[in-house]
Each structure stands twice: as structure tokens, then as C-alpha cells.
Symmetry: D2
Subunit: 439 residues, 4 copies
């Protein structure tokens, strides 16, 4: 099945959720299990060593395991059989000891997730660095803020970038929390009691978690999928934060707005003049796909008894896709942000488009009193219909007791920025605080 992958997702991230990556993770689980059991004295060290030797990806083929897995419903069972056949008779009985297929798949999923998250987080670092740069450079670059897509009041482009940045930092922090605290080893045996390990069950669990460098869970979580859902939720959040940036970029790049342009803007098969915001577009597509996949994780939260008949199996595809497409969105936004062309002059011209109307709030506040809002509203309508400027109409209104000079100053958008720059500083402080020292 085609997933149009190279169009959407960086190669390194595709690798991290590939057949090969899953196979390697599954093999790492089997090997780590044997090591942990050797350390616990449940398995002879030689058997553990023999098992580890056969846990190399080049000795197995994931496609074949999937084919064979059709009869049992997962690729772990054929892998276990293959390992048992491969090692010598003495070690065979120690392969996968006390574990079940789900232990292998779940722990492997966490290993795949941990590594893919490293790549996603690295892309987000790139996004955050780019946005922090924009916020700093354009801390005081005036532009218009838009609400319900109507020009509202002045702001700065730095403040806008700071808003994007804070969302990305929040998403990143959540991803890091999940990566550190919620990715856990799974080891419960056939149904969560680790019965074959007798009294050593919890010790092996601890050693196993150490071995794969994942958190040790209080209980096996074979049908408590809150960990998987937490991961899905964090990815969904991230995809949303990135999609918001993509949407704003697409809107700012509109021909009629033209305040930004993607440095790698794309051509068209038909229209020679087009410079399309392709990175933002692909980021938005990726974010949709990511959210679609995290929704599958969420809807698979409810597992039956000690192993789900279907909800579990659907997680693997959903998890791979959620990781890859979130990373794809981050990479595309990273590209867009790093090469973004800002048209400061156009931002200034757009601020003047309404001929002062975007300062209407300021005038109303200066007038004060209960009628101020209405006086200004009438002036705005008058200006629109009469052809006179907003300034002229205000001057002519005797209720407006402001000198011409005061009025002219008040209609300068670049002096009505409020806390925009202070907010940029706060966002940058948060950004710097989130970096390890010296980085």
C-alpha cells in the first residue's frame, strides 16, 4: 500500500518506524529479556548469550514474520518460534521465557516510539529555534492582528511568532514528559501475572525495564492503555500546534496579504507564476494525518480483559503513522520557518489599508465615557461610506474633543502595541529556560 511517504516524512523518521526498526526493537526485547532473566538467575548466562546472538535483524525478515503472523495475529509468535529453532536445544527453552507476544510488541512499540520521538523532538528544536529567531528579530516589527480574519488592531510580527513558539514549547514539553515518564517496559506473561517466573516476576520486570532503558511500570499495562493514549495525546497536541503555524503562514502568504513567502515556495504544473506555500501545505496535510492516527490510538483505548481482540492490533499502524506524520509536520514547518521571507514593508502597508480604522479602539478609549464606542462606530461607518478618511470624519465630529495633533498621533499604528514586545520577551525567556545550559 502506498502511503506517499517520501512526499510527507523525512527519511530518517521513516526509518525509525520502518519494518526494520520494529524488527530490531522486537529482537532487542527478546535479548533484553534473556539478559534480565540471566541477571535474576532464572536463565543460565550461556543461554542468554546464545539468544542474544540470534537477536540480530539481519537474521530475520519482518515481511515474512508478518505473513506467518497472519495465523496467530501478530509477528512476535513466529519470531519466537524462529529464535527457538535457531538457538541450540539447551537455550531453546529459555527463549521468551515467561513472556507473551504482547510483551514483545508493547515493549518494542515503546522502543520505536522513544527513538522516533528523539527525531520529532529534534525537528521541534529546529522549529523552536527558528521561531525564537523570528520573535527576536521582529520583536518590534509592526503588523496588523486579525480576528475572525478581519483586521483588528496592530501587533508585532515578533509577538505573532512568540505565540507560535510558546505553543511549540508546550507541545515539546508534553512530548518530553511522555517520553521520560510514560514510555514503560511491558512484561506480564500470558496474562499479567508472570506466573512462569514464580517468585522472580517483579525482579525480572525491574531488570528488564533497566535493560531496555524504559520506565518500570507499577503493573503490567497490557490492557491499561493510558500510556499509549498519553503518547497519542501529546502527538495530537504537537500536530495541532504545528498546523496552526501552517495555517497562519498560508494565510499570510495569500496574494492579497503577501506579508510572508516561503523561501522554498513551490511551482505549479500549470501556472508559471505561482509560488505556492508548499511546506506549510504539506505540514497541514501531515498534521491532519497525524491527528487521524492519534484518533485511532484514542479510540483503541478500551481493551477487553487481559488482551484485546483487535483494539491492540490496531495500535501498531496507528502509532507508526502518528509518530511519522507528526515528525513530517515538524520538518515541514521547520523548513518553512528557517527560510521564511518576511516583507516588513508590506506589513506596514497592510497596517494602513483601513486608513486608521484599526485604531478605532484606541480612539474610543481616549474619548472615554459610555458613548465612546458608539461615536467611533458611527465614524467608522461614515468613513467607509463617505469616502472621507476616518481621521477627517473624527475631526469633523464635535463630540471628539481631541486636538488634530493628538488625533494624528493616535492614528499611528506603530505606537499602539501595548505589551506586544513584553510578551515577546516572556516567550523568549521561556524558550531559553527550556534549553539545556550552554546549548
Amino acid at each position: 500500500m502506498t502511503a506517499f511517504e517520501p512526499l510527507f516524512v523525512p527519511e530518517s523518521l521513516l526509518d525509525a518506524v520502518s519494518d526494520r526498526a520494529w524488527l530490531e526493537a522486537m529482537l532487542e526485547v527478546e535479548s533484553a529479556l534473556a539478559q534480565a532473566e540471566a541477571a535474576a538467575g532464572v536463565v543460565p548466562p550461556e543461554a542468554a548469550a546464545a539468544i542474544a546472538e540470534h537477536c540480530r535483524a539481519e537474521l530475520h525478515d519482518f515481511g515474512t514474520l508478518l505473513e506467518q503472523g497472519r495465523t496467530v495475529g501478530n509477528p512476535a509468535e513466529p519470531l519466537v518460534r524462529a529464535l527457538r529453532m535457531a538457538v541450540d536445544r539447551d537455550a531453546a527453552g529459555y527463549v521468551h521465557l515467561g513472556a507473551t507476544s504482547q510483551d514483545v510488541m508493547d515493549t518494542a512499540a515503546m522502543l520505536v516510539a522513544r527513538r522516533a520521538l528523539d527525531l520529532v523532538l529534534a525537528e521541534l528544536d529546529r522549529v523552536a529555534a527558528g521561531l525564537a529567531g523570528l520573535a527576536e528579530k521582529h520583536r518590534s516589527t509592526p503588523m496588523v492582528a486579525r480576528t475572525l480574519l478581519q483586521q483588528a488592531v496592530p501587533t508585532t510580527f515578533g509577538c505573532k511568532a512568540a505565540g507560535w513558539l510558546v505553543a511549540v514549547l508546550e507541545a515539546q514539553r508534553r512530548l518530553e514528559e511522555v517520553q521520560t515518564e510514560r514510555l514503560a517496559a511491558q512484561l506480564g506473561g500470558a496474562a499479567g501475572t508472570l506466573a512462569p517466573l514464580g517468585q522472580s516476576g517483579t525482579e525480572v520486570l525491574r531488570l528488564f525495564a533497566d535493560e531496555v532503558e524504559l520506565a518500570e511500570p507499577v503493573l503490567p499495562w497490557h490492557t491499561n492503555r493510558t500510556r499509549v493514549a498519553d503518547l497519542g495525546g501529546a502527538l495530537d497536541l504537537t500536530a495541532g500546534a504545528l498546523a496552526k503555524i501552517g495555517l497562519d503562514l498560508v494565510l499570510l502568504a495569500q496574494t492579497e496579504v503577501a506579508e510572508i513567502r516561503e523561501g522554498q515556495a513551490g511551482g505549479s504544473s500549470t501556472l508559471p507564476h505561482k509560488r505556492n506555500p508548499v511546506r506549510s501545505t504539506l505540514a497541514r496535510a501531515c498534521a491532519r494525518l497525524a491527528s487521524g492516527h492519534t484518533a485511532m490510538l484514542s479510540s483503541a483505548l478500551v481493551h477487553e480483559h487481559e488482551r484485546a481482540a483487535g483494539a491492540w492490533h490496531a495500535e501498531w499502524v496507528a502509532l507508526s503513522g502518528a509518530l511519522a506524520y507528526t515528525g513530517g509536520a515538524a520538518a515541514a514547518i521547520g523548513d518553512a520557518v528557517e527560510t521564511l521571507e518576511i516583507d516588513v514593508e508590506r506589513m506596514r502597508r497592510n497596517l494602513e489599508l483601513t486608513d486608521g480604522l484599526i485604531l478605532a479602539e484606541r480612539i474610543a478609549i481616549m474619548l472615554g465615557g459610555v458613548d465612546a464606542h458608539e461615536i467611533v462606530r458611527e465614524a467608522a461607518i461614515d468613513a467607509e461610506s463617505s469616502g472621507r478618511t476616518f481621521e477627517e470624519v473624527l475631526r469633523a465630529d464635535e463630540r471628539v474633543e481631541l486636538s488634530d495633533e493628538v488625533l494624528a498621533d493616535a492614528l499611528d499604528p506603530t505606537t499602539y502595541l501595548g505589551s506586544a514586545e513584553a510578551f515577546v520577551d516572556r516567550a523568549l525567556a521561556q524558550y531559553r529556560g527550556s534549553r539545556p545550559e550552554g546549548s
Copy 2:
């Protein structure tokens, strides 16, 4: 990225939504366009022939097109460039004439969908045939019906199978309607006006639709995605109908119920005695994945202006997945149904589990009157707590004016089947009516 495909989806269906299938469909579009334009006199026949000659899949590589497509956001633009380079100078200007990338991608998507639907429908035929066979064979096989998973009243296994069958037939009919009426050619040019074709636009559209054997739309549908959503809706419906069967099978196969068993029941990596309902399990997983993908299609319904910046691009992955996983669910249920082992004896024993309580409704109706429900409810509770049988309690209750013989007959579950068999006949009539004659 791994999608665990061989585990879930039959190879033929994977092929139908593969890189190759998409590439072939895109090439068919370019070729058909040139033919249609030749027929309309817009393109010289020789140019059309030259173009067709280069529209062979072995001359192109989809992966490369996707890589190249990253800069423009789709693989159609690089394909067009490649074709223009490949044909001689005279024909080059006629490649993709008047069309845009979206025309290629959308029409190709419809072609991919049409072919994949053939395979999905064939799998559903197999499911329907299997269910019709079960309904017919077990028309009068008594079993218990369960509501809120509690034993309720008797029914027949044929009636249960008939219920599954009718849902499948309804889903199939909807898929066929969509395949016939809603899969349409897309040709609008850069933004839906077909301007480069001058006065020939609508004629070329008609000829092009004929050439690709898809419906001719009233208008180009580049940003009217109701066709895609209709397809998604029909697939979602189908996945749901199949998941319901899978769920019922899993429930019936429970150790404690044991009324059915999958003929190809699967083993376990750990538990030597297990015979897992793997086909139903995989069907349920596939149905979840299918619904997840159709949800992405639905959420991408809302496109901006004359081409969406992201919503469109997300459709390709979603469509491929929706088709493949729906087919995977159908195939798995088909396997399960064809090899299903029915334990008629166990169904009979389960009918007796409550010692007559599942006939409580019948007794209440026979008693009649406003207190009947309450009399029977008390007897049911009494029977449960006292250790006496329901029959004994009823006999001892002087308000129950039924002779012992009448009561005994009334407590025979096999004579309280109502219209179960009539419903089987109605479902089978619908099934037969849905087949082409002679099939």
C-alpha cells in the same frame, strides 16, 4: 514506514492501492486526456499517440516522483515534467494540456478506488455467500439471543446470521451505488474553468470521462469533496458491518460460551492450548483502521477556494488506507465465516443454562393481565435464590393458572422462535435478489 500490511490486508488489495497502482492510474489519466483532446480536435492525433506511448509504468518510478514532488507538493507535477521531456518537441506542448495536477491526482484516485472496490466487493460477495449459507443451514437451529450481553430469549443461529447478512448487503449496495454514480472524472484545469481549452472545455470533459470510464460530473469537483466523502462514508459503513460480525464471533467463541469456533483458530506464543479467534480479531483491527482512515477523509471535506492547502493532500493516504483496511476486514470475516465451526449442541445447552428463565417473557404473556410481569419477575428471583427451578416456583404459585403440561411446553425454548425463521427467509430473498441472475 511499516504498516504491518501483510498481517492485515490481502496481497491483491495491497497491489490495488500500491505505488504502482497509483502510478499506473496517473499515467492512464495523462494518456486518456490526450486521447480525449485528440478526439475533440484540440490535440493532433500523433501527439496523443506519442504521449500514450510514454504513459507506461515501467518508464517511471513513483518513489522518485514523490521525492521530486516535495518541492511542489504532489507527484503529478514531476510526472508531467518527465513526460514533457520524454516525448519529442512537437508533442511536448500537448502533454497535460489544459489540466492541472489535481485533475491527475483526483481522477487517478477515482481509478484506484474503482479497482480496489472491485476487490472489496468480491470479498463482500464471499462474506455474503458464507452468511447466506449459514442462515439457510441454521434457519431453525435454536440458540439464545443476548441483550446487554445477558441471555434474553431464544432465537435461531440462522436468524443471527441473517442479521449479519442484511447489514453486509446494505453496505455492499451502498458501495456499489458510490462506485457507479459517485466515482467521477475530474478535469477543471488550473482552477475549474478549463480556460486553456477555450470553447472545447465541456466537450473534452465529456470525452475524458468516457475514456477513463468514470461518471461525467456536472462541474469539476476539485474543492467539492462530497464524492470522496460519500466513498469514505460507504467504506465506514462496510467496516462497521464487518466489525459487528467480528465482535459477535469473538463473543460467541468465548471459552464460557463456545458456540462457535474459527476453523483457522490461531495458536499462542505462550499458551499451548489456546485456539484464538484470530480472523475475527484481525477483522476488528482492520475495521478500526478503516474507520480511522475514513474519518480522515471526512475531516478533510472542507477545502479552501479552488484548491485546498493541505486537506486535499491528506486524502491520498487516507483513501488508500480506507480501501485496503476495509478489504482486509472483509477478507478476514470471509475466512472466518467460510470455515466457521458451529457447535449446535452447545447452543442447545446454553439455552438451558438459565433453567427456563429465558422463557419468562412467554410465561408473562400467557398469564396476561397487568400483574403478569411482576408475578414472573418474583418467580425468577425466587428461583435464583431458593435453588428450586423456575418451573417449580411457577407451579407452586397459585396466581399461575397454567396446567403442568402447558407450563412444561411453554418452557421449551425451541417452540418460542416467533418470526425468526420467517426473517431468515426474508433475508435470503434479499440476498438472492441482490445477485445477478444465474450467478
Copy 3:
């Protein structure tokens, strides 16, 4: 719980899915059942008449039924008890004869849906009439088409409105199909066999369906929810088609684009000058809410055995919300379209914004040959960077062998409309064909 209803949904539609509407529908079901059973000779006519007399909404309270329903999981059971208490002893035994709570709830849901759909369809009529009017009036009004939110090529506003219209007509047709063919009576008794009705089951089913004027199903559909999902799918489609219009309107109303304005544009609590596209905004919010509710219907497709333990119960809220919010979206778009202010002059000015670049495709086609696309692309870039007009650059390029006059004509956007007007005519023909004659 607040649902902010008066903000989003017209009162008539809120009424159609209100407590009262559900109660009336449930009572209609009980009454119709008694009538049907009287007609089939299963119930004495006097009992049926007595039952009907108590099936009046003013005699019951839905809130109370819901409170009482907490112990059984639905409000139908307490209603049945209330009816049995209310009628005299002779009739009591005939209340709800052979039926189960789900029969009442499912058939009532269909009745509620049928009536609410009438209102939704009426709102869509208003939308379609408005759009048809716009398409006709602005059949030849030139405006720019935008792809990926970049100016692409000329089109007409009529053609854009025609695109919206066709999507609405398709959604409307699908809703009508569902309303006519898929809304069906549900009557199966405790578990779908109608056992209490003995041999009269299917006859009563037929008479009951006639009585409530809903389709007669082949089988009871208590756990075959394809009908409900079909309804959900059609509503989702409709919401999507409306949201697309809302999105385009919001984009066209942007300060920098300003091609349309809502006639009832809204003010702001803060900004005296704002004229917000409030109807489009609320339509988009409603469409989101509608899709959210239809997704709940879709995800509840999979029911266990003969009655679901939860999936069924979730449908009632989801159905009411899906109907109401879809109608809310239609009403808001209807308002927006009916009062839409079109700024034809601004459309014209926006066409000139790129100084001819949106005719680049046309020039390339006129040049012909394999280099044409590249020649024009270079000229477009040159024009952008040099400050010269696109026309000047083209004139200066010796590869462009077009006379000044021909070039000037070619750069007139109003003469490059292709089939835009023909498509308007096709859409209007479809619109007129979809109306009953004489309307």
C-alpha cells in the same frame, strides 16, 4: 448542561429534537403499535383505542422518565410502566405488546430524524435558492480563482457559487435518499424474533411501519446500525458542504480581499469598526459540532449481539446533536447567502493585483512549445524583482513572438474564462431539475 443552543440552532429545529419531540415520538410509537396490532387482530380495538388515548405528551414528563430510566438504562421502560398504570386493567396487558424498549427508542429516533430532516432540507432549499440566484446573477462577473490561497487564474463569481450549489444539491439529494429509503420502523421484540406475536410478527411489522409512515425493514435492525450510520454520513456530508461555503466566505471577507461582506455582519465588544462574518463563523462552528456528533454515530456502529451495552444508548444524544447542528449550519449559511453583499468592483481590482501574472498560463499556451512554461516563469520572476510590469518584460523578451496588441488582449482577465459560464449553466440546470415542477 448548556449547549449554547440559541446561539447556534434555530428554535424550530431545537424543538424538533427536544425532550417534547422525543416524548411525542415515543408515544406515537406505542399508539401506532397498538393500532397495528388491532388491525392484525392481536389486540382488541377498544384496548388499542384506550392506549392511544393515553399516548398524549401532556400526560407525561420526559425529564421524569429519564430520571426513572436511570435504573433500567432508557426512558422507554418507565413510559411503558406509566402507560400500563394509566390505562384500565383490560387494556394494560396490551400496552407495548411484543415490543421492547429498543423498538420504541429506535422507531422514535427515526420519527424525530424524519421531522428534523424536513427542517434541515428546508434550510438547504433556502441555501440552494440563494446560491442559484448568485450563480445566475454573477454568471459572468469576473473574479480571481485561488489555489493554495494564491491567485491562480480568472473565473467568475457565478462559477464559484455554482460549485457551492452543486455540493449542496448533492448533500441534499443524499439526505433525501436516506430520509425516504433508510428511515425505517424498528420492531423486533425482546431480541428480534417477535416471538410474543406468534405467527403475526411480520404482519404486525408491516402494519406498524405503515402506521408510523416509515419504511418496512427486511429484518429488525436493532443491532444492524447501517441505517443510523447512513443518516450520520449524509449529515456529515451536508455539514462539510456548508462548512466549505463558510470557509470561502470568511476568506473572501478578509479585510485584504474584501470581495464579499455579510449583510448582517456583526460588531465586536471591543473594536468599533469591525464588521465580522458572524454567520459564516457560526456556520463553521455548527458544522464542526455536527461532524463531531456524526462521528459519534459512526463510532457506535458496532453493537453486541441482539442489543448493545452502551453503543446504542450513545446514539440518542449524537443523533439529536447531528441533526440540530447540521440545521444550524444550513440556517447560518442561508442567512449569509441571502444577504451577501458582493463587491464586483473589488473583484475586478483584485484581478489586477498581480499585474497580469494570473494570465501567465494563457501566455505560455499561446507561446506553445516545450520552453513556454519556463519562458513565462522567468518573465514572472523578472517582473516581480525588476519593478517592470509582466507585460513589459514579455514585450522585451525576444522569445515571445506576440504582437503588442495580441499580448495586451491576452492579458485581459475577463476574456480568459473558459467554460466558467457553461459550468454555471450546467449547475443551474441541475438545480432546476432537482426542484419539483412548478416550484
Copy 4:
């Protein structure tokens, strides 16, 4: 519109998300804003006092605000107008100073959420306490564990309850984190710059957050919806954890399994003998509705520029529903757990259903060696087909070198519990650790 609320959601929770609750929260915001601005010296204290006096819910009507809000798209603007009319002229200009409608709605939403979360968390406390009690009491009560709904190996009911408990504790912890860290005041003015407050913007923001006792955000979050999505994610997680319990309870309550029964099991309108698991059923329905509403929050993550045209407006309904239905699910599970009847004897009998096959894993491990799995699998099949017991078959197999006594002991399910009890202890320790001391 009916939402069947009394059926699903406790009254206190309905109150917490009612019209009244939203109105009170909005008024609290206006009052707190005036207080904060008075503290910052921006508003005269008398004006702030006058404003506070009119911020009482009994002076306003939410329904009316919603009606009036149709023209502007939200109920905050009419409320501001009403307040300005109500206070005297001197104070009027200070009402809502520097704020925008979204500040009011967003902060009110957080206040509503905080209070509703208190109720949800209290219900979860009840659930957790009940589960901890079950885990402790049944720490060593043997029952069978089921994978893919097939009997697998022995476990204890306490271990099963511990698994439910840990999921609930994890959900609860996440909700608490969100409640503490992520619910934040929103104050940005028209577009996030707080321009009307001049240099006092950030100070007022700090004082305002203190006043409403919500976190102070780094930046206004008007279009950074990660906070809302985090809340949605935590509720979705919670709903999932509860739905899993509901599902397991429904499965355990099946007539054929009968290991548990709801103490408040419900009757049927038709079947006098039924004791339906109504609380679990309603919990599952609520969880579906909750997830449906959180999905709407997630899909509304992507806001345009400085205020979204629709995505924002859809949040209010979605948030209310997500809170209410999650609480409804918690309440229903709380009821179910608190009154749960455990049939220890039936659990024991079900353990014996397979006649020792669920100890197959143990035998295989005792045999050891590479053939053990196969020897035991053959014996299991033999036992099933021959009518002999598993024990008899094993005894007769000369490859099984176990004495009769050892074999008999090995086939005792109550001695193959592995770490089940240890896991119960770990879960209880986590539970106790999560309680404030002395509670």
C-alpha cells in the same frame, strides 16, 4: 435540544456546566478584571466596586445573552453591553476595560472546567476507593484471566481490580496536573497585545490571574489552544480508563460467565428475569459521548491568526459535554464498583471449565526443552477431541516425565498465580501514596 441528560449525568455535574454556571463564570471574569485593574491603578476602586455589584447572576439571563449574541457570535458582547448600561455613567467606561469577548469566554471556560473537574475528580476518588477495596479484599481470590476472550491462565480478581485501579489513578493524576498547571487565565485584549492597558498590560494580567485563581500564562493563549487540548486529552484518557472497566464488567456479568453482578442491576420492559448491567452500560455510553466531545476539542485545535472564525466557538459545547459525560462515566462506574457482587464460587468453577487446559503453559514449562510447547499442544487437542481429561492424556504420554502427584499439583490453578498478589500490593501502595496523608 434534548441531551437525555438526567439519564447520563449526575445533577451536580450538570449544574457545574449549566447556563447558570457559565453565566456566573463570565460575571466573575468581568468583576475580577475590574478588581485587578483597580489594584493596578488603571480603574478607580469605586468603579470596580460598582461593576462588581452588577456582576451577579440573578441580574442577567444566559438564554437572552445567547439570543442577542447571535448577531455578534458570542454571549460576552451582549453581557458587556448590559453591564455598561447597568452601572452608572462614571463606571461604564471601565467595564471590560482592555479586554475582548474571548478573554471573557476563555477564562470563564477555565473556571467552569476547574469546578467541574473537582466533581469529576471526586467521582474518580469514589471509583478508586471502590477498586482499592476490591483489590485488597480479593487479593488472592483466584479467577481466570482471558486473552482474546479465551481463558488463558489463572490470576486473581484482586489483580484484575488492581489493573483497573492503576489506570484510574493515572487518569486522575493527569487530570490533576491539567487542573493545576494548564487551566490559565486568558487576557489579551482585542488581539493579544493588551494595548488599551498601555504599560500596565502584564501587571494586570498577573493580578487578574491571581483574582480568578488560575495560572498566569506566559502569553495570552487566544489562538494557542494547547491548554484546551490538554484538558480534552486528559478527559479522553479518563473516559477510556472508565470504559475499559465498564467493558470488563459487562463481560464478567454475562449469563455464561456470571462472575460479577451489579448490585443495582436493572430490569427490562419486556423480560421479567433480566438483571442487566445498567451502570456499566451507561458508563460505556457516557465514555463514548465524552470521547466524542474531546475529539471535537482536538479537531478545533487549529485557530486562524488572532481569533478563529468557528473553531473557537465550537469549543464551548464540546468542553461542557466532555466534562459532563466523563463525570457521568465516573459516577456510573463508581456506583457499579461500590455495589458490585462478586461470585467467588463461580470464579472458581469457571477456572475448572477447561479441565486443566489453562495450566498448559505451566506444564510446558515444567517439561522444559524445545518440544515441550508442542507436546502440551498435542495433549490439549487430544483431550478436547477424545473426551479424556487433559490430566489423563498427559499421564498417558510417555514424554511427560512427571509423577502423578506432581502433575496433579501442577494442574491446581490456585497455585499458579505468579506475581498477581505482589502486583496487587504495588497497586495499593500507589493508591495510598496518591492520597493526601490522613485521608
